[in-house]
């Protein structure tokens, strides 16, 4: 037992850092859900593609023999590439796989099935073009192992700090955009009352596309961060990450951006602690357990408003 207590602070720190990344992916889910009331099941795959895009940049720089690689400029480059690519794929998805469905007044089943199909398609597209074996992020070249420090007995690497800080900054940036800009207001307007937003002159189509871009870009960024930290990526990583991020979004209150961030932190922490005390193989069960508990006990999540009576079954 004493060993466990010793590593506890370490696990807490790690859990929180991981949680910020979960939150980043979760925000992508929640953004789309707030606007369309659909779960973009393929979001996990967009996260995965972001990871591959970041890997691509790193590998390109390495094989081109570029000198003086420093995370201060390499990481933003990787992020930019991943975010742009992921964002565009998200927009493409919305345009071709989802939009034809809701303009026809399809049942709720349609978009979900289509999203599952998109998820399978993207997974396999990456597998076929990039190979089934995992790819490696040679993070060591960017972040030397020596870049770590100790606080109160806890080992923290610079990489972990960067990962968490980038995630938090992005989420804050998004929050700012949503709350302070005209674009953000139009997104909120469409999320709250699409018809009225259109009557205000908002191009609902454009807002939906932008929202998809933003959410997907964030997911892509998370992919790079995860790639950097865990160094191994494969075409299947989006599946469990996606489900966990969805759990985080639901936990925090689906449709609520701050909720997604909070949910991510809670999930990361819970997972980290659970794994400390029990069989690590059941790591994923933690997420599902939280999901099921949330939906059964308080479906509106931690920060969500309880739905008005008229919307309850």
């Amino acid at each position: 037992m004493p060993d466990v207590l010793q590593i506890l602070p370490q696990q807490v720190v790690f859990g929180l850092a991981l949680g910020t990344v979960y939150g980043l992916i979760a925000v992508g889910y929640t953004l789309v859900y707030g606007i369309l009331f659909m779960i973009n099941f393929a979001h996990g795959e967009i996260f995965m593609i972001g990871a591959y895009l970041g890997w691509g940049v790193l590998t390109l720089l390495l094989t081109a023999g570029v000198d003086g690689l420093h995370p201060a400029w390499v990481v933003p480059l990787m992020l930019a590439n991943a975010m742009l690519g992921a964002g565009l794929i998200g927009v493409g998805l919305e345009r071709f796989a989802y939009r034809p469905l809701y303009t026809r007044g399809a049942t709720r089943l349609g978009p979900l099935i289509s999203a599952i199909g998109a998820s399978i398609f993207l997974q396999n597209a990456v597998m076929l073009t990039q190979g089934a074996r995992m790819k490696v992020y040679i993070t060591g070249l960017l972040f030397p192992r020596t870049w770590r420090f100790q606080i109160l007995g806890v080992n923290i690497s610079a990489l972990l700090v960067v990962m968490a800080v980038v995630a938090v900054l992005m989420m804050l940036g998004l929050q700012l955009l949503i709350q302070r800009t005209t674009l953000g207001r139009s997104i909120r307007a469409v999320a709250e009352d699409r018809e009225m937003a259109a009557i205000m002159g908002v191009s609902v189509r454009r807002v939906i596309a932008v929202t998809f871009f933003l959410g997907s870009a964030l997911g892509g960024a998370a992919g790079v961060l995860v790639g950097l930290y865990y160094t191994q990526i494969d075409f299947f990583m989006g599946y469990s990450a996606g489900l966990k991020a969805f759990t985080a979004a639901v936990l925090g209150g689906i449709g609520n951006i701050r909720g997604a961030m909070l949910g991510g932190l809670v999930l990361g922490l819970a997972e980290s602690l659970a794994v400390t005390f029990m069989n690590p193989a059941y790591r994923d069960v933690v997420a599902f357990a939280i999901l099921i508990l949330t939906l059964v006990v308080k479906p509106s999540g931690l920060l969500g408003e309880s739905l008005p009576e008229s919307e309850k079954v």
Binding site: G110, G117, V285, P299, V313
Partner: protein, 357 residues
């Protein structure tokens, strides 16, 4: 519950006003009769043991798909974790008819036990989902599917129940008295027999009171409740029956493959079965069987393009939703009444919130 027939009842194509001509009767029976004959003769024209196996697999999956059809097609509950029941059924059968625990019950004894137990698991898994709708229901059931898989693959520690990643081997083949089922052809007829049972059961269920209740729930749960339908019981019944059919399928798989592995019960399998239901046409029994046939046979035919299989599958799902979301065959309306009308599509406006309460 008193269902009165609406004023203009007969949908086009069916008999008018209760009068049935022999010609119409004959045509209606000719189709299914031909299918039955074909099904019975199929193994005789099959080119090899392997292809007979494919036929058997079609029957197996059709059984599964019919089970999911009860949950998704009849009751409208989107279950993404159906593979859990399949896995539970398979492993339960393995427990009862293999060296794992040294129990070797005969097929006809083990099967009902497995079916009953799987039905119970259906109720257990369905219970937490009762107040959920749409996407949430889907994800939670998916979660249960994943949990089941994790339990199967990690069930060898601390106590070895499932034998973990190695699976359970040397499962007894089905034996009826002294007669042991051997060879794909015999398995095919066995599976075909069960498929017919399940088909008949499905058809009966659809016509029954519970079938009406399910349809009402599927169309509008709130309205169904105000009509006095106990939606809780009805939904649990749907889960239980769907799971029971999966229990049959699981037993069949275990006794045919003579082994079960956790890898048999991945999420992709849930989607596979769901695709059969959707492709074929939700609620339509013939459609579901057709969907199963297509989705089992096609990958076999295009064996060479194996690696593209999932890619095409994903694409198929997306395209299907755009082009023909109702599936290939439309569910036949219950005789004498017209199907409940779709709510008119609102031209624009906010999509409905999939509320979870």
């Amino acid at each position: 519950m008193n269902w009165t027939r609406p004023a203009s009842t007969s949908p086009p194509g069916l008999a008018q006003g209760g009068q049935v001509t022999w010609v119409r009767h004959g045509i209606r029976l000719a189709g299914p009769a031909a299918v039955v004959v074909l099904a019975l003769l199929a193994p005789l024209v099959s080119p090899s043991e392997y292809w007979t196996g494919v036929l058997a697999r079609i029957c197996l999956y059709a059984t599964l798909a019919l089970g999911l059809n009860v949950v998704v097609g009849f009751a409208g509950l989107l279950d993404l974790g159906y593979v859990a029941f399949f896995g539970i059924g398979s492993y339960l059968y393995a427990f009862l008819a293999s060296p794992q625990f040294g129990i070797h019950l005969p097929f006809l004894v083990a099967l009902p036990i497995v079916v009953a137990a799987t039905a119970v698991s259906g109720i257990l898994i369905g219970a937490p989902t009762l107040r959920l709708r749409g996407d949430y229901l889907a994800i939670v059931t998916l979660g249960f599917g994943e949990i089941t898989y994790l339990l199967l693959i990690n069930g060898d520690r601390p106590v070895n129940i499932t034998n973990g990643v190695n699976g359970i081997l040397s499962i007894d083949p089905p034996a009826l008295g002294r007669f042991v089922v051997t060879g794909n052809r015999q398995y095919y007829y066995l599976f075909l027999g069960f498929l017919c049972l399940v088909l008949i059961a499905s058809a009966r269920l659809r016509q029954s009171r519970i079938g009406w209740a399910w349809q009402a729930i599927r169309e509008d749960e709130l309205a169904a409740r105000t009509m006095g339908i106990n939606t809780t019981v009805a939904k649990l019944q749907a889960f239980a029956l769907g799971a029971a059919f999966a229990g049959i399928g699981g037993s069949l798989l275990a006794s045919w493959q003579r082994s079960v592995f956790p890898e048999n019960f991945l999420f992709t399998e849930s989607i596979n079965v769901l695709a059969m239901v959707i492709l074929g046409g939700m609620g339509s029994l013939a459609g579901v069987v057709l969907g199963a046939a297509i989705l089992v046979a096609l990958p076999e035919i295009f064996r060479d393009f194996q690696s593209y299989r999932m890619l095409v599958f994903g694409l198929l799902l997306m395209v299907l939703m755009v082009v023909r979301p109702q599936g290939l065959l439309v569910a036949r309306p219950r005789s004498g009444t017209r199907p409940l009308p779709e709510a008119p599509a609102e031209p624009t406006g906010s999509p409905p919130r999939p509320a979870a309460s």
